[in-house]
């Protein structure tokens, strides 16, 4: 459920989510870097100042007071000309020798870590009321006497500056982030324009407008694959759709002719009173026509089944030469009567195939060949093996098939010569069925023709058990 909803989130939202995360993170990092570097800069500045002050105070202690001025007076002048600096000097017993007025450095002194005068490294920060301080404690020895020096600078000013800076910084960062996101969203929206346009154009594809194709060079590279795939899909749809509607038209046409014959015959017969033998004759004629119709319908049904992958050949190992010889026996009388001889070249070759279906292929090809062979000529069957394929060709002399028909003769209802074939063959489905059977077996078929010779070649995979 949740995953489903996630999958439906728009592309723009996805991109924007990633952009927002990236922009937010980089701006936050940037702000943090600026802020912390300024803060560190201030802290270093303060530390330097504390070091200088400590040194100045220590110098005074070393030098000692010049009478009549007391040590306290000398110390009070130790750091001069500076604003917002404080210090306190105490002796070993904790007695204050000097202390800048208006500040309590004694309690701060307890929390600070000890430093040597020459190396002030430990610096502390504390707050008293609204004021903030940074300070350091150092000890020094003068003539056996230990002194403790606490120095401090007022950092309230820095803190206020930092507060203001932080606020401005975040305002600027937030503003820039918002602008970047807006620009990003706009960019994504603009970027999707070709996609939306493509969608709108795809919507115009209807069954009567299957000729629509898009130019892959017209769209951004990212969409090229989509467009190519779409074109392929429409192409296939168009071909199948055209074939389907052609097929329907052909069926209608092929069925209409025998039906019209039937109707006319019956009408003529009924137009006046007839004798019993005449009625019988009519019924016989009708029966022939009906049988032709039935055969055509069952052929079409077979093809429809084959189109839907419902033809399941029962594969057995067959020697093609044997099958051809069996077919020769079957056609022998007929060929003999037409004064056509049947010749087989090539040795045995085993293929895996459905016996009945393979015989049907051979029968269709042989029948066609015998039918179109002139008297006293040979129909030749050649069997050859080429790699993993068994190639069977049925070759007959006689009037060839014109080149413009060759590519179509395996199509349903296609007749190279409508008049001739109508009389001799079925509905023009024989070769379509032949090709269908060969393809069900994983093979292929082709026809070649010169002016005086026609060859049908089909190939089947050699049986697995006969290999190697």
């Amino acid at each position: 459920m949740y995953r489903d909803r996630l999958r439906r989130v728009s592309l723009a939202t996805r991109v924007m989510a990633f952009v927002a995360i990236a922009v937010g993170a980089s701006f936050a990092l940037c702000g943090w870097l600026v802020e912390s570097s300024i803060e560190r800069h201030f802290a270093e500045q303060d530390s330097d100042e504390l070091r200088v002050m400590t040194k100045a105070v220590a110098d005074v202690l070393h030098r000692g007071a010049e009478p009549p001025a007391s040590l306290a007076t000398a110390l009070s002048h130790a750091v001069s000309g500076r604003h917002g600096v404080f210090y306190r000097v105490a002796d070993a017993t904790g007695q204050t020798l000097y202390q800048t007025p208006n500040i309590d450095l004694e309690s701060a002194a307890r929390t600070l870590l000890e430093n040597d005068v020459s190396r002030v490294v430990h610096v502390g920060v504390w707050f008293a009321g609204e004021r903030g301080f940074r300070g350091a404690k150092a000890t020094t020895e003068v003539q056996g006497q230990r002194y403790s020096i606490v120095t401090a600078v007022d950092i309230s000013f820095h803190e206020r500056f930092l507060d203001r800076l932080r606020w401005t910084l975040w305002l600027i960062m937030g503003g820039s982030a918002a602008i970047s996101l807006l620009a990003g969203w706009w960019g994504v929206h603009q970027g999707h324009i070709p996609l939306r346009q493509l969608g709108d154009r795809m919507r115009t594809v209807q069954t009567d407008h299957l000729d629509v194709r898009f130019d892959p060079d017209d769209v951004p590279i990212d969409l090229r694959r989509l467009v190519v795939a779409f074109n392929d899909m429409v192409e296939q749809l168009e071909t199948s759709f055209a074939r389907l509607s052609d097929f329907s038209a052909d069926i209608a046409h092929e069925l209409r002719t025998p039906l019209t014959n039937l109707i006319t015959q019956t009408q003529v017969a009924l137009s006046q009173s007839r004798t019993l033998p005449e009625y019988r004759e009519l019924l016989y004629q009708n029966l022939e026509e009906q049988e032709r119709l039935a055969r055509m319908v069952s052929d079409m049904l077979w093809l429809a089944k084959s189109d839907h992958g419902l033809i399941k050949p029962v594969m057995v190992d067959l020697d093609i030469a044997n099958e051809v010889r069996t077919l020769f026996e079957f056609f022998e009388a007929w060929a003999d009567e037409r004064r056509v001889a049947l010749v087989l070249n090539g040795g045995s070759c085993t293929v895996g195939a459905d016996r009945d279906l393979l015989r049907q292929v051979l029968s269709n090809l042989l029948a066609n060949a015998i039918r179109h062979t002139p008297e006293r000529c040979n129909v030749t069957v050649n069997i050859a093996t080429e790699g993993q394929r068994a190639i069977i060709s049925v070759c007959n002399p006689g009037e060839g098939i014109a080149a413009q028909h060759l590519g179509h003769i395996f199509e349903r209802f296609y007749r190279a010569d409508a008049f001739r074939t109508r009389h001799s063959a079925g509905a023009g489905l024989g070769l379509a069925i032949t090709r269908s059977i060969v393809e069900v077996h994983g093979g292929g078929i082709e026809a070649t023709s010169t002016g005086n010779e026609t060859t049908f070649r089909f190939w089947l995979p050699v049986a697995a058990s006969a290999q190697g």
């Binding site: 019924l283 016989y284 029966l287 022939e288 049988e291 039935a294 055969r295 069952s298 399941k312 029962v314 069996t326 026996e329 079957f330 056609f331 022998e332 009388a333 007929w334 009567e337 009945d356 015989r359 049907q360 029968s363 029948a367 015998i370 039918r371 063959a425 079925g426 024989g430």
Partner: protein, 149 residues
């Protein structure tokens, strides 16, 4: 005997294994259905196979695969003998072209040629042309039958 539109091999095998004596897929020719019923009836009537078939003055020697008409031996090719045997075994029945193609040549599909007609014509020339009565008859619109009448 099954008369059904279920035509896959699996269906047919199942039907026969369920105890059917025969299985005929719709659509079927009525003549074929009748022929098959008669075959089933005959199978019950005389289960023993004879080595000789006799009809009118025609005798078939099944062992020697010879045909003798009116005491004269008629030379037949192997397929012609098979065809004649089929017709004799089914005497009085109409055999369609597709049954003949299937039984004699093991061609289990409809051929749009007149191969069967030619074969019958040749058989007639040997068996019937020089003899009376004619045995092989054309049943128009259906097929052929062998009948001594």
């Amino acid at each position: 005997m099954f008369l059904t539109a279920r035509d896959t091999v699996g269906d047919r095998v199942r039907g026969l294994e369920l105890g059917a004596d025969d299985y005929l897929v719709k659509p079927f020719a009525f003549a074929e259905a009748l022929a098959r019923v008669r075959t089933l009836l005959r199978r019950r009537a005389n289960p023993t196979a004879a080595d000789r078939l006799q009809i009118a003055d025609l005798t078939l020697d099944l062992r020697g695969r010879r045909a003798i008409r009116a005491g004269r031996r008629v030379p037949l090719s192997s397929k012609e003998f098979n065809l004649l045997e089929l017709l004799v075994r089914h005497q009085g029945e109409v055999l369609t072209r597709s049954i003949i193609a299937s039984q004699v040549w093991d061609m289990n599909f409809d051929s749009d040629t007149n191969v069967i007609d030619v074969a019958i014509r040749r058989l007639r020339a040997k068996i019937d042309d020089d003899f009376e009565p004619k045995l092989i008859h054309t049943v128009r619109g259906m097929g052929y039958k062998l009948d001594p009448e």
